[in-house]
Amino acid sequence: MTLLVEQCLNGLQFGLLLFLLAAGLTLVFGIMDLVNLAHGSLYMLGAYFAATFAAWTGSFVLGALLALGATLLVGMAVEVVAMRRLYGRDHLDHVLGTFGLILFFDEAVRLLWGPEGLSLPLPPWLNTAVQILPGIYYSSYRLAIIVVTLAVAAFLYVLVMRTRIGMLIRAGASNREMVGALGVNIKLLYTLIFGLGAALAGLAGLMQAPILTVQIGMGENILILAFVITVIGGIGSIRGALVAALFVGFIDTLGRAFFPDLLRMALSTAAASTAAPALSSMLIYLLMAVVLVFKPEGLFSTGNK
């Protein structure tokens, strides 16, 4: 029982983290119709910035805030310099151009920070376990991630559903020309949305950094997961991204946790241990393929594509 609660919390934490990444992706994808493979690079940059700023300032929280601002700025700069020129091109161009950007960012990071990667140590108050239910202890840092991501999800909800910018975002996701016709400065709106997406990716990166390590290419694995979530959830749908992210988070964590024991009934320990993580990763792609075969535009399609 304790185990199940803990594994569910782990799944929730991972799912919410993926949501941060997918939210930015789905916004950019839905509104600007841009396939941005370089989203994972922004995730990586968030982690590098946080590690650097935390080391400078000596404070984890201050470092994280500075990193957030820095990724926002980099994101907007990337939009102005490169992405803007890709709008309206076909998706092959997007994939290639942003694949090029991945190479560029990976090498730029190698040049600036060296090939070895960094680490972002947690302050002692986050490096412990707290009692959440009688007898059940859980990592305080993972709890903090859950709280922060839920807050961000709520913020996004308010932003999208209750503000003028949100109205434009929603309008843009369902009818791009319409927004332009309303006399809105569409260029600026796009830059802001891209920056927002970058900051969300950066936040995901910097929060993962203490759990994983800060390294070149760290965005590549998780980027594909974020894409899967975006597609399952329906391109442009924040709500879809949240649901799909939780799905993927739970499948991944619970699969890793319980598959090995299931498989051990049929296979040797070594074979089961090798097969289990692969199977749970595969399940995610299987889920996507099934969703696409039956609902070719995702679960919560916004209906413009």
Partner: protein, 317 residues
């Protein structure tokens, strides 16, 4: 004759004659590694030619083409691991497995359009990646060393590097010719027509879905052949061969060389791999140049290298 014709033709003729002479040069210069590099280039060019068939001519933006490299390779590797070394068993199986995989994923993927097609082909390739990564018997993530190369009738000996190079080269020439014939046949016209206007092709009475599926399966099968060659060349196969970034590399080769150009993938593979080898020994940071270069090609030089060669002489493509 226009000068453009000359520049491009000269390059093509040079390439076609220079490739068979590579072993002669490496022998004289005592540089067997150059032969290893060129064998890799030839094999990757073969894979890129197969991708060009669906991507360049068919407009099918598959982001999972590296899966066939892995499937072809693992067919060879797994059989070798089980003690079956005959190429006459391994290779047909590699091709059949690739064709079957292409048939299944093609049948499902071709129901989707645009970016969903990109994502679903990626998903299937990742599934294949995780399947082989999950089989402990064949090394899982660690990969599988192939201790004996595929065996054919004598005197063909794949462990002789020069013979192996010529085998790869002959296959590359053959497959390139095959693809060229294919796209210029009636079948190819339909596939190319479906790329530019699928609705019109369907209105004309062509079952475009079936045409595209056949095209997709042919491309997958040919890439499976490249996979069998690659496994023999490396004496090693690992899931990394089919990771999504490898599919990205293949797309880069096709676009860099020039899409829908018969020899474009050759240029792409050659330039990319030679640059990688040459630049990485000069500067570690060569990808910082390659990355923006790709972006620039996308933005300003859609024809890739082949398009550039046409333009150099002044004749617009």
């Amino acid at each position: 004759m226009t000068p453009a014709w000359n520049v491009r033709t000269a390059t093509v003729v040079l390439l076609l004659t220079a490739l068979p002479l590579v072993p002669v040069y490496t022998r004289l210069a005592h540089d067997p590694f150059l032969l290893t590099l060129f064998t890799r280039i030839v094999i990757m060019a073969l894979a890129a030619v197969s991708l060009n068939l669906i991507l360049g001519y068919g407009g099918m933006m598959s982001f999972g083409h590296a899966a066939y490299l892995g499937i072809g390779g693992y067919a060879v590797g797994m059989l070798a691991h089980e003690g079956i070394y005959s190429g006459l068993v391994q290779w047909p199986l590699a091709l059949a497995a690739s064709a079957l995989f292409a048939l299944v994923i093609g049948a499902l993927s071709l129901r989707t359009r645009g970016v969903y097609f990109i994502m679903i082909t990626l998903a299937f390739a990742q599934m294949a990646y995780y399947v082989v990564a999950g089989i402990a018997r064949y090394g899982g993530d660690d990969g599988l060393t192939i201790y004996k190369r595929s065996q054919f009738f004598s005197p063909l000996d794949l462990s002789n590097k020069i013979q192996f190079y010529y085998l790869c080269l002959v296959l590359l020439y053959g497959v390139t010719y095959l693809v060229w014939r294919l796209v210029n046949s009636r079948f190819g016209m339909v596939v190319r027509g479906a790329r530019s206007n699928e609705i019109r092709m369907r209105a004309l009475g062509f079952p475009t879905y079936r045409y595209k599926l056949v095209c997709f399966v042919i491309a997958g099968t040919l890439c499976g052949l490249a996979g069998a060659l690659l496994a023999n060349h490396n004496d090693f196969i690992s899931p990394a061969t089919m990771y999504w970034t490898r599919s990205g590399d293949l797309i880069v080769m096709v676009v860099l060389g020039g899409m829908a150009s018969p020899l474009g993938p050759w240029f792409g593979a050659l330039v990319l791999l030679v640059l990688e080898e040459a630049l990485s020994s000069i500067t570690e940071y060569w990808q910082i140049i390659l990355g923006p270069l790709l972006l620039l090609i996308v933005l300003f030089a859609r024809g890739g290298i082949d398009g550039l060669l046409r333009t150099i002489g002044g004749k617009r493509a």
